[in-house]
Every structure is written in structure tokens, then in C-alpha cells.
């Protein structure tokens, strides 16, 4: 058995993950990069005599220091030295992809280029001369259609071949002036043994890369001074800052390659452009967006309601069987609390969260979510975020836990904090169940809609306040607009599963433990005491019945539990006999806002630390009670 390590690298959205899934199938595990909140996907491929370890690096556009992802990727390739790097590039968007390829070549590892989306290339009437491309880059270039699994076998063979034989990476010429400075710098770097190739270090020093400067300062601070001199010279001859000079040179090379290797014929691929035009249209685009979001919710909750009723029935059946075997004593009752937590988790994942994330995944993979991000950009700017923050907010309607973790896509800490905060205010599937079973069933759908609108207004206002508290210019939107494409089913399912897994790992254990705690409170009648203590809030301020206190407290464990408690304490599932319509609205409003459930708090702690998590939680409790009381007074005016 021989061991080989392969790293997959490439821009975002080029089909890297599809190739990763093809290669590793079920043998993959997703963790975090050590000490970072960036996902690390790793998998194993058993191929003949080889055990191949495959690392899927984050999708990025450059190897500079713009994001942690970029740093992680270049550190990984330079320090861990994978045997081969597979650079996946989108053949329909060669220039920008080659810019990244050139940077990978600077790192000097054996490399093979996977020229992906060859089917689209044909449809778009583009012709890529692969042999010429190979000559330019000095590494093998193989055609791939990842979504159909075509070309992947050859890719693996080539990679194994390179891993065994090794490969000398050709130096790409960046123009006379730049090359001169690189040459001089490489010479001065000669004595230093660092993990990175000398040429890469020299280029990064010329760019003014802070991380590399720090590294060099430790071993030879003189070099920084020399670099300053060289960089100054480049800046004066080119008239732009040093970073731009180098980037321009790379793009010049990429442009030359494209000019020489690509011929553009007649595009037979019109409908996706038309679709793009309509869905980003100034008026029509917004209408389509609103319609598609509303129908998404409609489909999910009609389907979910139907499906969960069946599951709940099975759950009840399970309880009867359980009681037959274990009786209804205290110990058995407590143990049932644990099972109940698990069952409840399942009855919310299967009917609601999974379908929701599945459809969202289809929208994402086809490219529609980035159109929504585009349309929402200016609106999101008002709360100090840019359009892409809309995506974690959407996730929040399924479950707040993946939403919080999804906020990692934000570029700065400040933006992540605001995004995390507002996404905990989004009503998740469990809250929607409460609202539908109370307000939807007994008061009317107009009120349900109104509650959601009120929620959005509150999100907007609080978002703006958070923006004031953490001021700073929001990062502007810079986003690629890919052509629409057919979503790849396997990738979509996998994506949905990964998001659900976050729920299962973080939320489910907490749900189960807290269900047990609740049973203890019930059995020991401690809940009665709590109910009494809460009366000034529940009865006097919110105008709710006393037993709603227990319901609200238990909702912390999992939100839809408050509905179960409400029924148990009120002694009926016909809520119209125990709550007035106004009480239902107030109760729903408070549950919508009052606290991120315990699983979300855990996700908050993970992403923002203890202090901020506690602050957000306490704030939301006070705020929800405040809003609920106001609503009660307005409604009973």
C-alpha cells in the first residue's frame, strides 16, 4: 500500500466539491482547520495499490491575505506539501481561473489542471486548445465534466503518475521589470530555509504581503528594507501600487494564454442569459424573488405539516408501547423524557428542516441564491451587511444553528457578529410550527403573515442599531455572477446533509438533555414554583395565562416544546378554549423573539464567545417581553 496526498484547489463554484464527492464518495469527514472556524473537508480514495488522501481546499480567487481561507490554503500547500495539487478550473471562465492557477504554480508543487465544465464550453461555442494550454502552463491539463463523472478517472491516474515521478514546475515569466526584482530578491533569500519556495516568497514580498513580511522579519529583517527599495522602483515605473503591479502582470499572462488558446464561436446557450436578465431585473426580479420565497415556505410547511403528523402519531404509538413495558413510574417517566427529545428532533428534521435545506440547496447550486444576494444587497447595506449575508438569514428559517455557522462567509468579524445577531431573530421551523398551530389555525393567515412582516421590520431595526453600535464601513459586494446551470443532485443532497448534521451534532444532544431536565422539573413540581415567580411578567405585563410561564421557559430547550407544554398545562389541544386570539398573537410574538433556543446559544458561543452570546440572549429575552407587552396593550386598546 502506498500513501499519496492530493489537494483540490480552485475558485469558488468551479465544481471542485463535485469532483471531491466523486473521488471520495462516502469516505469523507468534515472538520475544522486547526484553530480556525473554516471547514476542512478531507476524504480517502482507495485506488489499486494506493490509499489517496484528498483535501478539498476552500474555493478562493487568490493566494493573498484577503481571507483566512486564502491563508490556510497557501500554508497548507507550502507546509504540508501534498504530493499533487489538482487545480480545478472552469473552462467557461478561463481568465480569472488561470490567475489563480498561476499563483498555485508559484508554490511549486506537482500539479495537474482539471479543465471542468467542458460540456458547457461546447454549448457556449467556446473552443479551448488544451495542448497549447499545457505548453503555456507546463503542467498536464485534462478535460473533465464533473457533473457526469467524465474524465475523473484519467485525472486520478495522472495525479498518481505525477506523485510517483515528480514534476519540475516551469517558471512563468511576469515581464522584464518584475522578473528582475524577483531575481534579485531570490538571491538575497538564498541563505534562509523557510517552508515556502524562494520565488513565491520573493513575489509575495514585492506584493507587500504582511504575513510573509512577518515571517521574513524574524529570520532576516534586512530583506524587508531591500524589498521596499525594489517595490518603490516598480511602483514608480508602473504608476500603481506594488500589489496591483504584480496582479496586473499575472493577469497579463492569463490574458495572453486565453487569447492564444480560446476561440469563441457562436453561442447556442441563450436561455440561461435570458433567465439571468429576468431574475435580476429591477422590478420583475423582486417580484419573482418574493413569489419564490413565499412558495418555498408554502410548500415546505404544507408538506411538513402532513408528514410530521404521521411521525407524531408513530411517536405516540411508541409511547404506548414504552409504557406497556416500563410502566409510568418516575424513573421510566424520566427515561421517556430522553426518548421524547430524540423523537421530537426527528419530527422536526425530517419533515421541515431537511426539505427546506434541500430546496434551498437546489436554488443555491443553480445560481439563484446569488441572484437574491444581488437583489438584496442595497437593503442589507442598511444594516451594515452586504447581499451575501442574506444566505445565512435564509438558513435561519430552517434552523438557527446552521444559520449562525453559515455567517462565517462574512468577510470581517464585525459583519459576522451583526449577521449572527440578526439570524437568531429569524423564526426557525419550530417557531413557525407554533405560529401556524396557534395563530394560523385559530386566528387566521393574515395574522401569520403580519407576524412575519413584523419580524422582518424588527430584524431591520435591530440590525440598524447593531450597525450603529459596531460602526464601520460595510465590505462592498464583489461577487461573481455565474451562468445558471442545472443543479447537481448529489451535491445538493450532500450540502443539505452537512447543514442538517450541524443541527444533529449541536442541537440534538442539547435537546435530549434539556428534555430530561424538563421532566425532572415536572416531576419535582419545581415548574409550579417557576410559574408563580413569572406571574408578574406573564399575567400582568403580557396578559397571558399563568401556565404560559412554564411553556415559555421550556421553549428554551426547543421552541416547539412550548406548544406541547401549553397543551399539557392547559389540559387540551384545542387552544381556542384556553387562549384568546390576542393571547395567541402575543404568545407567538414572544416565542418568535424571546431567546435563541439552547442549541442556538451553543452555536452563538462557538462563533462569538461566551460574553457576546450571553449578551445577545439576555437582550433578546428583555426585548421580546417588552415587545410582547406593547403588542398586548395595542391589541386590547
Amino acid at each position: 500500500m502506498k500513501k499519496i496526498t492530493i489537494a483540490l484547489a480552485g475558485n469558488a463554484n468551479v465544481g471542485k466539491s463535485v469532483i471531491f464527492n466523486h473521488l471520495t464518495g462516502l469516505h469523507q469527514h468534515i472538520g475544522n482547520w486547526p484553530g480556525k472556524t473554516v471547514e476542512r473537508a478531507e476524504g480517502t480514495l482507495f485506488h489499486g495499490d494506493y490509499t489517496i488522501d484528498i483535501i478539498d481546499l476552500p474555493g478562493i480567487y487568490s493566494l493573498s491575505t484577503f481571507s483566512i481561507e486564502e491563508l490556510i490554503s497557501r500554508e497548507y500547500i507550502a507546509k504540508e506539501k501534498p504530493d499533487v495539487v489538482i487545480n480545478v478550473i472552469d473552462a467557461t471562465n478561463l481568465e480569472r481561473n488561470l490567475y489563480f492557477t498561476l499563483q498555485l504554480l508559484e508554490l511549486g508543487r506537482p500539479m495537474v489542471v482539471a479543465l471542468n465544465q467542458m460540456d458547457l464550453v461546447e454549448k457556449k461555442g467556446i473552443c479551448v486548445n488544451r495542448k497549447k494550454l499545457e505548453n503555456f502552463l507546463g503542467v498536464p491539463v485534462l478535460p473533465v465534466i464533473a457533473t457526469q463523472g467524465k474524465g475523473i478517472h484519467d485525472l486520478v491516474h495522472k495525479a498518481i503518475d505525477l506523485a510517483n515521478k515528480g514534476q519540475r514546475i516551469k517558471k512563468i515569466n511576469y515581464g522584464k521589470e518584475v522578473e528582475e526584482e524577483i531575481k534579485k530578491l531570490t538571491k538575497s533569500l538564498k541563505k534562509n530555509e523557510l517552508n515556502y519556495p524562494k520565488r513565491f516568497l520573493a513575489i509575495k514580498l514585492l506584493e507587500g504581503d504582511e504575513e510573509i513580511e512577518k515571517l521574513i522579519k524574524k529570520v532576516d529583517p534586512k530583506i524587508i528594507k531591500i524589498t521596499e527599495k525594489y517595490a518603490k522602483k516598480l511602483e514608480t515605473t508602473h504608476g500603481h501600487d506594488r500589489f496591483t503591479v504584480i496582479a496586473s502582470e499575472r493577469y497579463k499572462v492569463a490574458n495572453e494564454i486565453v487569447k492564444d488558446c480560446v476561440t469563441i464561436g457562436i453561442c447556442k446557450f441563450k436561455y440561461s442569459d435570458k433567465l439571468h436578465e429576468i431574475t435580476t431585473h429591477g422590478i420583475l426580479g423582486y417580484l419573482i424573488m418574493i413569489l419564490s420565497i413565499i412558495s418555498l415556505f408554502y410548500i415546505i410547511f404544507t408538506f411538513g405539516n402532513f408528514f410530521s403528523e404521521i411521525l407524531v402519531e408513530y411517536g405516540m404509538g411508541l409511547k404506548l408501547v414504552y409504557e406497556q413495558y416500563f410502566g409510568t413510574g418516575i424513573a421510566s417517566n424520566l427515561a421517556w423524557g430522553i426518548i421524547e427529545g430524540g423523537v421530537a428532533g426527528v419530527t422536526i428534521i425530517l419533515p421541515y428542516i431537511f426539505p427546506f435545506y434541500f430546496i434551498l440547496g437546489i436554488l443555491e447550486d443553480s445560481g439563484y441564491l446569488s441572484r437574491i444576494a444581488f437583489l438584496m444587497d442595497r437593503f442589507m447595506h442598511k444594516i451594515g451587511l452586504h447581499g451575501k449575508a442574506f444566505i445565512p438569514l435564509m438558513l435561519g428559517y430552517g434552523c438557527n444553528v446552521p444559520a449562525c455557522l453559515g455567517c462565517r462567509i462574512m468577510e470581517t468579524y464585525r459583519e459576522k457578529l451583526i449577521a449572527v445577531f440578526v439570524s437568531t431573530l429569524i423564526p426557525c421551523a419550530a417557531v413557525t410550527i407554533i405560529i401556524l398551530s396557534l395563530v394560523g389555525k385559530y386566528v387566521g393567515f393574515g395574522w401569520v403573515f403580519l407576524l412575519y412582516v413584523i419580524n422582518l421590520v424588527i430584524v431591520f431595526i435591530l440590525g440598524r442599531i447593531a450597525f450603529r453600535i459596531f460602526p464601520g464601513e460595510p465590505t462592498g459586494l464583489i461577487m461573481e455572477m455565474h451562468s445558471y446551470r442545472m443543479p447537481h443532485l448529489k451535491t445538493v443532497v450532500k450540502q443539505a446533509w452537512f447543514r442538517i448534521r450541524e443541527f444533529i451534532y449541536i442541537a440534538l444532544p442539547l435537546i435530549i438533555v434539556s428534555s430530561l431536565v424538563i421532566k425532572v422539573l415536572e416531576v419535582t413540581t419545581l415548574s409550579d414554583v417557576m410559574e408563580k415567580l413569572m406571574r408578574p411578567i406573564t399575567i400582568d405585563w403580557l396578559g397571558l395565562p399563568s401556565f404560559s410561564g412554564t411553556a415559555l421557559i421550556f421553549g428554551v430547550a426547543r421552541k416547539e416544546l412550548s406548544l406541547v407544554i401549553l397543551a399539557a398545562r392547559g389540559g387540551t389541544t384545542n387552544f381556542s378554549t384556553i387562549l384568546s386570539p390576542i393571547q395567541m398573537i402575543v404568545f407567538s410574538l414572544v416565542t418568535m423573539l424571546y431567546i435563541p433556543c439552547i442549541a442556538t446559544i451553543a452555536a452563538l458561543v462557538k462563533e462569538t464567545g461566551w460574553k457576546k452570546a450571553i449578551f445577545i440572549t439576555v437582550f433578546e429575552i428583555i426585548f421580546a417581553i417588552f415587545v410582547g407587552g406593547i403588542a398586548f396593550r395595542l391589541l386590547t386598546w
Binding site: S64, T92, R96, D241, S248, Y286, R378, I478, E480
Partner: protein, 79 residues
């Protein structure tokens, strides 16, 4: 032909310009140049809505840019 200098945001739909410089901080400049908006590159304004950001075509593909970003990019236009 005389050239006029203006902000990218002021291009009309369908109008082309050549990037002359980016008047932004290091982060934005770095990001934009990494995405291919280097000086001397031709850009075309594809779409400019009232509510949404702008969409430009550069180096054979399309990019969405927020208003704030599009304001920082200076272009030269042939009159």
C-alpha cells in the same frame, strides 16, 4: 479621440470604459485586482438598477459590485 475620466458607477448600461485606477483601501483594491479589475482592463456596464448593485462584464465573465465599490473605480471613456 479625447478621453474622459469618470467613475465606473457613472457608466451607462452597455457603455464600455478602461480602468485607470482604484481609489480605495488596500483590502478593496486587492480584492478587485484579484478579481481581474486591473488598470488597463476594459469593463462594460451590463446592468444598473435603482435598487440593486451594478453588474459589469470584465475578462469574459460578469461581476456584481456594490454601489460603494463601483464608486471607487475610475475609468476612462472615449468620447
Amino acid at each position: 479621440m479625447p478621453e474622459k475620466s469618470m467613475k465606473l458607477i457613472d457608466l451607462k448600461e452597455g457603455q464600455k470604459g478602461i480602468i485607470s485606477s482604484i481609489a480605495g483601501g488596500r483590502r478593496v483594491t486587492q480584492r478587485l485586482t484579484d478579481m481581474g479589475l486591473t488598470p488597463g482592463t476594459e469593463v462594460k456596464m451590463v446592468r444598473k438598477g435603482r435598487l440593486c448593485p451594478v453588474e459589469i462584464s470584465v475578462r469574459g465573465s460578469n461581476l456584481a459590485l456594490g454601489y460603494g465599490v463601483a464608486r471607487k473605480i475610475l475609468v476612462k471613456v472615449k468620447e
